[in-house]
Symmetry: C2
Subunit: 300 residues, 2 copies
């Protein structure tokens, strides 16, 4: 792969679908018209052998995942993604057509979420493929939903079923950008996070940022069909598998009723004043959940 | 190295020196108060064995370089850097103290250039150390200086001596942010680029973006002392070594006189209507310069 050729290809093909690009990525830096409200800024990397396996994954899916992980984070703030820059570290023996398929997948996802790729960097090296995406977003008059806003008594809800993402969803998930914005616009959401590390771990993050605890009803956790196709307890997969990329959020009980009626989320528990994440079994017994979500899916 | 511990350390230590951070990096994304004018957006990576050698380089210098390369690009637009996010890929056997020294070096450079590190990502992997920086900037009422604005008859100037960066400057260079802003504010600069790939290559980029050619006076190129300490012709090092990170810019001849009087640059040639980069020898003879700057210093 020639770095310059690839950059030229990217520059010609990707990310000019907005009137807000003043200077494109052919210059030292992209120049963009400022948007409405505050900025959101996020960076994230995916690495071959950690976040995907380049021997089995389709390159389009890898490109999708690289961007979608960042989109998911902006969605978890309930805000609008706008511009991305993409830095790739490419093995010296990479085939150019394969890399272009990866970038085409990334660009397709960018289009789908009204995001423009406005810059990039390509470096070939002796190591494995890695892709870094830095993503900008904007508030457009909305208040970003933080992790730290959960209040005792809030309902805890999720946007979709959990567990078993390793069977495919970890590569093909839909980042909940539209859902996050809609929740933020139409409902009073106190706190929100995206489920990348697993329900137990991410609910733990949300609770520790908010200085609260949580009780989750075992029977209310929506379990993905994939979680039942894996060895082990489906509930454990729903609790501990990472990379579901659904949204986890807390809100007043009355708002939660509205959210459930609108089909925008499912209540799974309640924020409590007692530290720790507890699981309520069908018989009413409580047990504390040990956090054991993993930081990256392939690392176990 | 524990990824979460390191992120917590970064969050506590780095990048809170501005009133513009609404939500810090502990959330899904940082939230920042919008600034004045247009946004600039840039990404760049440095990789062990390509852009530095972790066996010999001081970690503080590696951190400096990772950020300074992006700062140099914002400087080359004549604009103000503001916020950075840093993504690190860390070898599994990395020592935590060494990584913290690297981040301390990066943060020191951030402070020096009024830039706040507002987010990060840490992933350990089986490969080598790599650091990606995405940097935002803003125009604050200035017009960004593009590569494409050179006009026939412009003087071509540089901010400092060239060549031999491999002897140390490639790690310790000062990104010409202040110089770029000052040139943009006080003078009529038609085009600008930072010298990362070498004078011959980067002047080539600037000329092809501007659809012009250039004649450079051999005797006027400022040659760094380091270029004379290397084998080979010092002039060749000044022309073809990468990573000087000085600014190369073009401007009207009358402005060039003012710039030289103010000690803000040295004129080395003139923009011409004839395609290609030509070198004028002391005897007046012209020869075309073959571009052979390298894309990355360690790759040859």
């Amino acid at each position: 792969v020639s770095e310059l050729d690839l950059i030229r290809w990217i520059r010609g093909r990707i990310g000019k679908r907005t009137g807000r690009i003043v200077v494109d990525s052919g210059d030292d830096a992209a120049v963009l018209k400022g948007g409405r409200g505050h900025l959101l800024f996020k960076t994230d990397s995916v690495i071959d052998g950690v976040h995907f396996d380049s021997r089995t994954a389709k390159p389009e899916d890898i490109g999708h995942k690289a961007l979608a992980r960042c989109l998911s984070d902006i969605g978890a703030m309930g805000c609008y993604p706008t511009f991305a820059v993409v830095a790739m570290m490419i093995p010296r023996n990479a085939r150019e057509a394969w890399i272009k398929r990866l970038l085409t997948g990334l660009d397709r996802t960018a289009r789908r979420f009204q995001t423009a790729v406005v810059g990039g960097d390509v470096a070939s090296h002796a190591g494995k493929l890695a892709i870094n995406v830095a993503l900008l977003g904007e508030t457009r008059g909305l208040e970003p939903v933080r992790r730290s806003g959960a209040r005792v008594g809030d309902a805890i809800a999720v946007t979709g079923p959990l567990g078993g993402s390793i069977l495919g969803k970890h590569l093909k998930f839909t980042p909940r950008v539209r859902e996050g914005i809609e929740l933020n616009r139409r409902f009073e959401i106190h706190s929100m996070i995206d489920l990348s590390d697993g329900l137990a771990t991410d609910l733990g993050h949300l609770c520790s940022e908010s200085r609260v605890g949580a009780v989750v009803d075992e029977s209310r956790i929506p379990i993905a069909p994939a979680a039942r196709r894996l060895p082990g307890l489906p509930l454990d997969h729903a609790l501990f598998d990472g990379e579901d990329y659904e949204l986890l959020f807390t809100l007043p009980q009355t708002e939660a009723v509205r959210v459930e009626k609108a089909g925008r989320g499912r209540v799974i528990g309640q924020v409590s004043a007692i530290d720790g994440i507890y699981l309520r079994a069908r018989n009413g017994n409580l047990r504390e959940v040990q956090r054991r979500g993993w930081e990256h899916r392939f690392r176990r």
